[in-house]
Symmetry: D2
Subunit: 384 residues, 4 copies
């Protein structure tokens, strides 16, 4: 049985749009049934139809889509919101309240207040509000989580995360509009590199440990001094359990392409994973030797097996990771529609609570950096 | 505009079936419209419908499918043949003659004669007969081909290819039916590891150089002496141009997962690529330094750009490589249907001629190995 | 012409002793002529003689050695001090004042005051006081320094350094005397992991940039809570030029053996080097591709060429790096003895000023960590 | 107690001379006491004295050295012969017959007959004739041998060895005298790349398996067609035990620096080691995961421990590997002088028998390549 899927944003020329369509389509669970893809209504309607959406469900804007879908018997089962950040809140809230399940791009909202409200809205509506921290969809990231959860590392003592690239290192790009807006508070908000990239690493640190950031201390730098917002940041943090955290993120690290990496050190073992070579996980048991865990090998966790599609030795990539988020959502929605309890292993998609915690951590880091690295509470008020 | 796609074989529990469905579906070009998926007609019909095929196009066997699709206005535009090897020839020939485009799994046929006949059949019918050497779909494999073609390496002097794994190394598996048949001539034919894996590396060597194997000398070994067919082989060869080739393949190489690698050495540079980390290509210009080419970086070849879906630093994998074969076929078929000349860059899918050359090379290697490594002509008779 | 060399400490069973003897002996510059190798005078005399030192120069303690060597015509040209940390100051000062050149193990002294005094003492005596930050002896570390100095990276914006290992991760070692003392303030001083390992990375950051740490902020953690001193530390810092620095060090990072790595990011390029594979240096020019610089390749800097012994592709290791410090010292001392100006390229050995700055940085980090990460001045008083 | 060491050849500007002097001097076992270093007697005498050899033992040629050393009470205990290949036989024979232990550079001799004679000469004289296949001195190469010997891999089925570099790939070097002679039969003998580099890999294959090459089949190519001798070769072989061997060597593999690598596959495990990163050994037990063995880690074999000098995580390199050959020789000679049985673990240095087998294999490969890959006996007559 297939589900109907709709998308808001992700129009012609967008980078994230195709990634969502590939991910949603990969396993044949979702039919792309409706869309409001562009700020220009005509362009959006045209593009949706070129992608196979029927004319009556190729909408001019999200309000039109909400009105059009709301009362259909075959209405979309899941709406992906991939519009500009400042609109995430309003659109997601409206669809949730109308009883749709929603997957919203990160950052979920602009403010902590909005994020708390979305968490409450989803709960009240009994609907899923998922957030696209898609990198946690990699099979071996999920295996790390499973290993921690089943105690392979003992108590986790330390997590070291990175997300470093060099794509904004060129001073000649200071006036390049594709780069400039990211460092302009009027357009990007309170944080640039930490909010854009670092937060993925922070979410992953929480995901694999099953723990929550409690306090943090941040050092922000504008390595290109013309920038108002940070292009490099170091964040030290502590999880609720006391686990120590270190996170470095940079956009001026020439030579790094997409350096999302994570290391986890526990009482009885260590793990290291890097997104650029996501099919290998380095594991060292205390007193043993470094070993390489391969995606797709036998005897991995149910979480990893579920997230794999091809046999060992064949690389999977980011499209498969994103597709795992969609598959989780699809299976969960199918269960809900059938009145079955969803499979817990399908419940690893990032949730509104994760989106909220991330927004709170960004604001906390900004406050700490402004206060010369003072330690601050990183939790959203509703979880303190 | 979408195309209709059908599949023969690839039933429930098959390994290759899901890979084809993911690949065909990835870019939204093909609708899975018809199938004869299983030797058990009832199982096949049921499985097809569970995958969303309508009841009237969920066929019991390939003859029924041929009869059912032949006269439909919306008949399938492409048929994938993923049945047992010995049936490839008959099925593919029947569909080609009925005017369908065909993608057949490797090996295309069992004998050189059959393969030559399929080449002639496709030509006579004016239809595409493609063969699934899907590893040449990787963006950076295509970039290697483009680099060679545009002269970045000068004349190619030497190609060194490997496909080594260790999945058949366990003597306890000698009686495991999933392994045993592969080394039984009655079931596997004249060659085991070279025909199954080595041939991918040989095809890739031809693909990246745009050259054809002319002569070869083979040394086959059964490292587990109980095996009749080889589990390890070394093949030395010469291309038509005189380029030297070396190819090692093994199924007893414990510690290698899926060691499909290729190195190309020319007058002015060298290249090295490995399937297990397919998003990096090592390039060394003569007198320079080793450099790392990243899939998705700017200024790659049109061939590589066309074969990429996500931004640099984000891994793509085998599903995307296979999907590139389907995208090529889809774009080419769309052009043919529209009476347009297909885009040459979309013409890189492996063709019946490649399938034929591979079959001929397998038989040549078997003959050479039986003759203590005598050098033999590796070309199919029709290309001599 | 050969120089005479003497050693204090490094007796039978010591780990650092053989490393010094290999390094001093590697190039035939030094004859091991005198030693006071052990706290037990008899053992020390015996061991020295077994190592080829003549009986009259196999001393019972350093005072005896100072008295014995002071007036010899063939007295030692260089004295290595590899005794317990708390004795470095007294011994080094005595030998410097007696006109000997000295190489002292790190940490140079226990306090900033002592370190400042040694700097002044060496200057007043006109003698070399070198400190064994031997990791900066690697050919490619010196090449990084040369690249920065000649402007290959433009202005350096950011340095990220690490020294992470997992050798103290086992809780069962809390009472192991070989580990325990390191975390006991009475024996180890004010800092454990940062003073022992992190400081190498901090010195390397200064060495490659030619810049000095001005301020820092530290977060210390005892991942094994029973420890009084830190086993994990993050230090953010700023160089005098404004360059941003990040340094992580850990002794609980299971799976890391000796993770001394450094990344340097400038306006026009990035570099990455790791001690565990010291013969490759990753360099990425802005807008270009990652390239791999090989130790021993043609056209490196004079600094790197001087520090290489074998041809490209043949690994060199830590013994060669340490030997480079000795060769620098030997060549410099030979020049001084001959009344020639020493070759500036031979002047890259770490000096008393480096030792002093390191001690000041350790004390600054301890103060900052105690102050919840407050930013503090990291410079020694005499350099403010 | 120290031994006296002498050297013939390795004069000023030679590449191999410094490597021997570093290796012999590294552990303080040998005093460089005598030398005949240059074809120009005056130059040789001068250079030896500059290196610290006393005037009376700085000889003009090897005959003078033989005469001078023969009757000294403190005569050299070991003579290293590093002269042009064609002179190895005569010099080594003369010194052996005069009762000296000899270490001769590879190739040991020019012909199989000479090599057999040296084996007999050494035996008759009761003296060591060692050959400098120094790459087997790496600690982890010795550990591989120990693992095989103690059965960690079960019966060895397959060995795959490589020695590929690209230093002769430039056609502009065809007339470069430093390269040209290597491919000129009048100067280089019957084989170029296989005799120069490939033979190291072949010796290593024998060393680690403890097995001997029995038959082989070779394919030689001159990728630069102007060359008379091969610049690329593939050699298939069989060991006495039936183990399958594959060996590729090339001097036109642009991008490879010094690609000496070896893979060993047995019934119960696989190993992979590469000279460019010699401190890590990849080991995969059957049915397990790839693990990384680190030089210097605890619980390695006595063979590996003996061959290590610095702690785990600190790289060792080629100088240490060569020094292990000298240390073995030194310890063995000390035992012989003391009338003790030498420690078997010190007996891993390559011997005249290894040199002989290598010469025989080179001639066999040349014959096979000339015979279109015919399988030939690779054993020296005296071992058939």
């Amino acid at each position: 049985m297939r589900l109907n899927w709709g998308m808001i944003g992700g129009g012609d020329g967008s980078q994230i749009g195709p990634a969502h369509r590939i991910a949603a389509g990969m396993d044949g669970l979702f039919t792309f049934a409706a869309g409001a893809l562009d700020v220009d209504p005509a362009k959006g309607r045209d593009f949706a139809q070129r992608l196979g959406v029927s004319a009556d469900r190729a909408y001019g804007d999200w309000r039109e889509m909400l009105a059009g879908e709301r009362d259909r018997a075959d209405r979309v089962d899941l709406v992906t919101v991939a519009t500009p950040n400042s609109t995430h809140y309003e659109i997601s809230k409206a669809f949730l309240e109308a009883g749709f399940h929603v997957l919203v791009e990160k950052p979920m909202t602009v403010s902590v207040e909005q994020a708390e409200d979305l968490v409450r809205t989803a709960k009240a509506a009994g609907r899923i509000c998922a957030v696209n921290y898609g990198y946690t969809g990699y099979a071996l990231v999920r295996h790390m989580r499973a290993m921690v959860a089943r105690g392979d590392l003992g108590r986790v003592r330390l997590v070291v995360a990175e997300f470093a690239h060099g794509h904004h290192a060129n001073a000649a790009d200071l006036d390049n509009p594709r780069v400039r807006w990211r460092y302009d508070p009027a357009l990007a908000g309170v944080s640039a590199q930490f909010a854009d990239c670092g937060i993925h690493a922070l979410h992953m640190a929480s995901f694999v440990t099953g723990d929550e950031v409690e306090t943090l201390s941040a050092d922000f730098a504008s390595c290109l001094p013309q920038r108002v917002l940070e292009d490099d940041a170091m964040v030290n943090f502590r999880f609720s359990s006391g686990t120590v955290g270190r996170l470095w993120t940079s956009s001026v690290a020439i030579g790094r392409q997409h350096g999302l990496t994570i290391q986890i050190f526990g009482e009885t073992g260590g793990l290291r994973w890097a997104q650029e070579q996501p099919n290998q996980l380095h594991y060292m048991p205390l007193g043993g030797r470094a070993t390489i865990i391969e995606r797709g090998e036998g005897n991995l966790s149910p979480e990893a097996d579920r997230a794999s599609r091809v046999t060992v030795g064949h690389a999977e990539g980011m499209p498969e990771a994103f597709a795992n988020v969609y598959r989780d959502l699809g299976d969960t929605i199918l269960a809900l529609k059938a009145g079955r309890a969803p499979d817990p292993v399908a419940g690893l998609y990032p949730k509104a609570e994760d989106g909220l915690r991330s927004i709170a951590a960004i604001h906390a880091a900004v406050a700490s950096a402004a206060g010369k690295g003072a330690w601050v509470d990183a939790r959203p008020p509703m979880f303190r």
